[in-house]
Subunit: 282 residues, 2 copies
């Protein structure tokens, strides 16, 4: 029997809510599966194999493309609320009754809404490099994010060296290692996202940046244990937002890693897997 | 051969800088010893056995009374700078060339100064429930601290239930367990502190609260890896100060625990020992 990893797990499909969702699942099929929600413009390949394979030692890992992203069909929604409903439809279609949920960046906003709406489904929540609604500096892409994503590059995927890592020598060395891992899947990679993904997701990011009722009040309704993780100097989703999440969620632990930007979990994959595993174990 | 624990390790004495320092040392005598710096009004008995015995599995643990505290003679200094010099004299007198250093609350301020002054001595630093110089709300004892320490109690050591724990049912249940552990040493407990300790230490806390040069600039000189730990809602040393430490130290990881006050590490002793052990291992 083949033991799949993030680098060779086949892409599968499941129909739900009129959408054909592309997904991959692999790892230890005991216990509670971990479902992951992806960042801005990311597809199935944009996760770090070191992190996902680390998780997969202990549990089943499930990644998917939400509506309209890469190999999943449909029209990309322009709000996190719609993306959350689609994510719920996908999880329900798999017939899974209890999950742990990890959301990274934009995925972390969506994860908050899924956890709030479905306390019976989501046991524990991990929020990485993300912000609450109406977070600090989150009324759209930050100036740093606009500059980084707007830069023309000879090697396209080197954009992640600036999005996820700081400019320090140490962090850039970690970025090179991450890129190697990210490129390791050479067969059956996901299809590229279409040109309509980024604008629709930017609209959703902008909407999530707007106030709605009392600031941060909705976080009190997310009663699950939460692990909030970020880098010390996230220029994409400013780090203070992770502090806000921790301070306003009823049961949240915060971990901030040193000399790290938006992809702190890809800079310290072994440490991050250890911290998450410890958090999920209890 | 007796394997000592925090509950039965004998009190020893060493002379340095004209002071006879009282200390205890126990645990696994391999690797780098961990030296701990105590909080306001605390003596040798004020550490949590669950935490210290947890550390002692992996390394030697060294606790001591600084000048003028309980079983250590001399006059209590009124600045952290003097306390740091005394701490260095104590460590040097033991003939140890490399240590890891943990400072809790007031001890965390002193630990910063020792780490800054002695980069060759201090390999790694752990700052628990503490603040940088001129921290937010740290111009003296906080109003909450004044109320808690000022309250007359039938059972004196129950003060720690309010200093270290939140008022939630869960946190107060953890407080009861902590008190049981704290009281477990029934033979050869340390002597009580004298009446001059609290006023002198309050003067030192007040002095540490004052500005001196550019705010937080000195933290850039502490180049060791640092683990900063606190509770979500520390009313003795406001939690935001731990965030400030993480943001201004060059190489600091931050961990904040949920529903926890000043003694978050005593509320989650097993998790804290795991996090610290992981931090010290690399």
């Amino acid at each position: 029997m083949t033991i799949y990893t993030h680098t060779n797990a086949p892409t599968q499909f499941v129909d739900a809510a009129g959408i054909r969702f592309a997904f991959r699942r692999f790892g230890n099929q005991t216990g509670i599966p971990l479902v992951l929600l992806q960042h801005f413009t990311g597809n199935l390949d944009n996760w770090d194999p070191a992190v996902l394979d680390g998780f997969a030692n202990d549990r089943e890992v499930i990644i998917f493309n939400n509506r309209g992203i890469a190999s999943t069909n449909g029209v990309v929604p322009t709000t996190y609320a719609e993306m959350a409903k689609d994510a719920e439809a996908f999880i329900d279609a798999l017939g899974i009754k209890t999950i742990d949920l990890l959301g990274f960046s934009m995925g972390g906003g969506i994860a908050q809404l899924v956890a709030q709406a479905r306390p019976d489904l989501v046991r524990r929540l991990i929020l990485v490099g993300t912000a609450p609604r109406n977070g600090d500096g989150m009324q759209g892409l930050t100036p740093e994010a606009q500059a980084i994503f707007g830069k023309v590059r000879a090697v396209e995927d080197e954009v992640w060296m600036d999005v996820f890592f700081t400019q320090s020598e140490k962090s850039q060395a970690a970025a090179r290692k991450f890129l190697d891992r990210y490129r390791a899947r050479t067969v059956n990679r996901d299809v590229n996202i279409s040109d309509v993904v980024a604008p629709a997701q930017m609209a959703a990011i902008g909407e999530w940046g707007q106030p709605k009722g009392e600031r941060f009040a909705y976080l009190k309704d997310i009663k699950q244990p939460v692990l909030v993780v970020n880098g010390s100097t996230d220029v994409i989703v400013p780090t203070i937002n992770s502090y806000h999440l921790q301070q306003h969620l009823p049961d949240a632990q915060l971990i901030l890693y040193p000399d790290a930007n938006h992809g702190s979990h890809y800079q310290y994959p072994e440490l991050f897997v250890d911290h998450v595993t410890r958090f999920l174990r209890t």
